[in-house]
């Protein structure tokens, strides 16, 4: 069965937010919202969960710290201990103060880049990928709400359109996908 996707366009973020609130209260499932900037407070309304990228950043940072510690211990203490300025490199703990700057920098390096890469991969935004916003104006001043008929079995497409029209939309568009 062909699925219908309805795109309702708004010209104000607050109107869209209120519209989404009303629709969700009536039991409509909003599949996606495309906007030119983050609409604060839309996520809980349409059921977008908070991202866990922060936890990933912490784990990447921990990895960086571990790598830096293991690396510097191996280079400076185990593999080739040097006596620099009368301070022999015999134990990691005693020499650790000199290793703090690089441990810190490497932690930040791994946390930041690890998180950024995960962000790109999870978003599926990578150089050369095609844009998926339904209308080019959604990166300017238009806000689009996407509603799929397959998500809303209890409403017909016409009912959904009527409901949407009550929320102050400026344009309505739909597409059939297989």
């Amino acid at each position: 069965m062909a699925e219908r996707v309805i795109y309702a366009m708004y010209d104000d973020d607050d109107v869209l937010k209120d519209g989404a609130k009303k629709l969700v209260a009536k039991g409509v499932k909003v599949a996606e919202v495309f906007s030119p900037f983050p609409i604060h407070g839309i996520d809980p309304i349409i059921g977008v969960k908070n991202t866990r990228l922060g936890i990933m950043a912490f784990l990447y940072g921990l990895t960086g710290l571990t790598l830096a510690t293991i690396g510097m211990r191996y280079f400076m203490i185990v593999d080739w201990p040097m006596n620099i300025g009368g301070k022999p490199s015999m134990s990691y703990v005693q020499n650790m103060l000199a290793f703090i700057p690089i441990s810190f920098e490497f932690t930040v390096l791994c946390a930041a880049h690890g998180m950024a890469l995960t962000y790109f991969l999870r978003n599926k935004t990578l150089p050369g990928l095609p844009a998926q916003n339904p209308d080019p104006r959604t990166t300017d001043d238009r806000f689009v709400m996407e509603i799929r008929t397959s998500d809303n079995a209890k409403f017909s497409a016409e009912e959904l359109e009527t409901l949407l029209k009550e929320t102050g939309i400026v344009e309505l568009d739909q597409k059939e996908i297989k």
Binding site: D14, L53, P101, I102, A112, T125, A131, Q132
Partner: protein, 516 residues
């Protein structure tokens, strides 16, 4: 929505709509470049190419072409390095530290300040690299297994810390900047008419579509990167200062160096931001977004960090006497009264006295005065590094080895050349990249835009407590008069009011960040 007090000056002047913001920022990129751009770009390119020529000559001949000698074995190279790294501190400070402090005014300047940071750190990076003499051996600074009996780099050395600090700073700063640029590239992509620019911006925008989940991740990633970049900003210049502070040269061996260098870096970085922004806002018609209030905020930062630097100078001077170390005492006495007195007193005048003038409201709100001071500060900060480095070295332990430093024309050529290259990069940035964060500015339009803010004439006083319904009433008021878009909100009045009240209950301070 979190309302700002009516008494605060709006951050976006005029009656802008979302579309106006897009237009104002995209038009200078889409239109033909003005003649002035070509003139400036040619001048910068010629100076930059001259610098590249000097660098090539240096690489071909050896670093003996610098004006160094046996006594003064470190001079303009490290001075320029520290100067550029210092300038490269403002961007990340603005975007990271001010993001954590929820300063909305940063949104007008963070994009170009970050670009400036990245280009300044590029310029800084040139100096240690060419200082190696054999650029192609640059990979020696990395801890890689090698054929010399696995001799590792010295992890106890601040010079190696620098390698890690600067490369981390540069790459993290770049990622932070680029992640913010992606949604704005998407805006440019969707507006582009010509096939070439459409293709370029679609590659640069990584296929960004503005989905709700992506924005959710975007905001968290920005916040976490800001959290990571904040200690990074402070660590980088601290580590740069360790290059000196961990040595035993009188005048360098000082524990005050890390905080003093960091304050100096922010000081010079903001001065450079002022220099660039004051020109850019005029040339690209961005006066509505970067106006007197922004300049004033930055001047306050300059004033505060300038005072920290001044305090540090005087503390250092006092301690050199109070410590009773005669070598230390002599180093400072010699700085102020020796053959380099002119450098010392230029530094004192430019860095200690000039920022104090910013206490006067009239002066710190004067754009011309700010522009002059911003250049004076950067001259002063260059002298600071020159004074620290050269005057500490030029009179060493044997009076027979005492010497003076005279820069060669290659020294001068490379320094001036990096300024040229810096402007080449910055002008290219201003020509092809969105110089203001379009998406972020739109998020503050309803909070701090003039047409949405309570009109001060009619709504004095009673809006100060920032209650949602009052804020809304004011938006309603202006809507009928000027802003057509505000009318939309007005018609949805009741529910928005409800929303504002909900958020006000959760506490005014936290609500803006919670929404993020």
């Amino acid at each position: 929505m979190h309302k700002e007090a009516a008494i605060r000056e709006p951050l976006i002047l005029g009656h802008k709509t979302y579309h106006d913001i897009t237009e104002d920022i995209c038009r200078p990129i889409e239109d033909k470049a003005p003649r002035m751009w070509y003139v400036l770009f040619s001048i910068a390119l010629i100076i930059g190419l001259y610098g590249v020529g000097c660098i090539l000559y240096l690489l071909g001949t050896g670093i003996g072409v610098w004006g160094l000698n046996k006594t003064i074995n470190w001079a303009w190279d490290i001075t320029n390095f520290v100067w550029w790294v210092g300038i490269g501190h403002a961007g990340t400070l603005i975007s990271a530290v001010l993001l954590l402090f929820r300063q909305r005014w940063r949104m007008a300047i963070n994009r170009s300040a970050e670009a400036m940071t990245i280009f300044a750190v590029f310029m800084a990076g040139i100096f240690p690299l060419i200082h190696m003499g054999r650029l192609w051996m640059g990979y020696f600074v990395m801890p890689i297994p090698n054929q010399f009996g696995s001799l590792w780099v010295n992890f106890n050395s601040p010079l190696l810390w620098d390698v890690f600090a600067i490369s981390t700073y540069l790459s993290v700063g770049f990622v932070f900047w680029y992640i913010g640029l992606i949604p704005d590239f998407a805006t440019l992509r969707d507006r582009a008419k010509k096939p070439v620019s459409k293709k370029m911006y679609s590659i640069l925008s990584f296929g960004w579509s503005g989905r709700a989940k992506h924005w959710n991740r975007f905001e968290l990633v920005s916040l976490v990167l800001a959290g990571l970049a904040t200690p990074l900003v402070f660590s980088v210049h601290s580590i740069v200062s360790f290059d000196f502070a961990t040595s035993v040269i009188p005048g360098w061996h000082t524990t005050i160096f890390p905080p003093y260098f960091v304050a100096g870096a922010v000081f010079s970085g903001f001065a450079m931001v002022q220099t660039l922004m004051l020109i850019m806002r005029k040339a690209m018609n961005l006066e509505a977004y970067i106006h007197t209030r922004h300049v004033e905020y930055m001047n306050i930062v300059i004033m505060v960090t300038g005072s920290i630097v001044g305090t540090a100078y005087i503390t250092e001077l006092f301690i050199s006497w109070y410590s009773g170390v005669e070598y230390e005492g002599y180093a400072f006495f010699n700085r102020a009264t020796g053959p380099y007195w002119w450098a010392y007193w230029s530094m004192m005048t430019c860095n200690v006295i000039s920022p104090q003038l910013m206490w006067f409201r009239k002066l710190r709100r004067s754009l011309l005065f700010t522009f002059i001071i911003s250049i004076v500060v950067n001259i002063g900060m260059w002298f600071e590094r020159y004074v620290i480095i050269v005057t500490s070295l030029h009179r060493d332990y044997l009076p027979s080895a005492w010497s003076m430093h005279y820069p060669s024309h290659i020294d001068i050529g490379i320094y001036v050349g990096t300024i040229g290259l810096f402007f080449v990069f910055f002008l290219l940035f201003a020509r092809f990249f969105p110089v203001l964060p379009i998406a972020e500015l739109k998020t503050i339009l309803k909070i701090a835009g003039e047409s949405y803010k309570n009109a001060p004439d009619t709504h004095h006083g009673h809006d100060d407590h920032g209650h949602g319904s009052h804020g809304h009433a004011a938006a309603d008021h202006t809507a009928h008069v000027e802003a057509p878009e505000a009318g939309e909100i007005a018609s949805e009045g009741s529910s928005e009011e409800e929303q504002s009240n909900d958020e006000n209950n959760s506490g005014e301070e936290t609500s803006s960040e919670e929404e993020k």
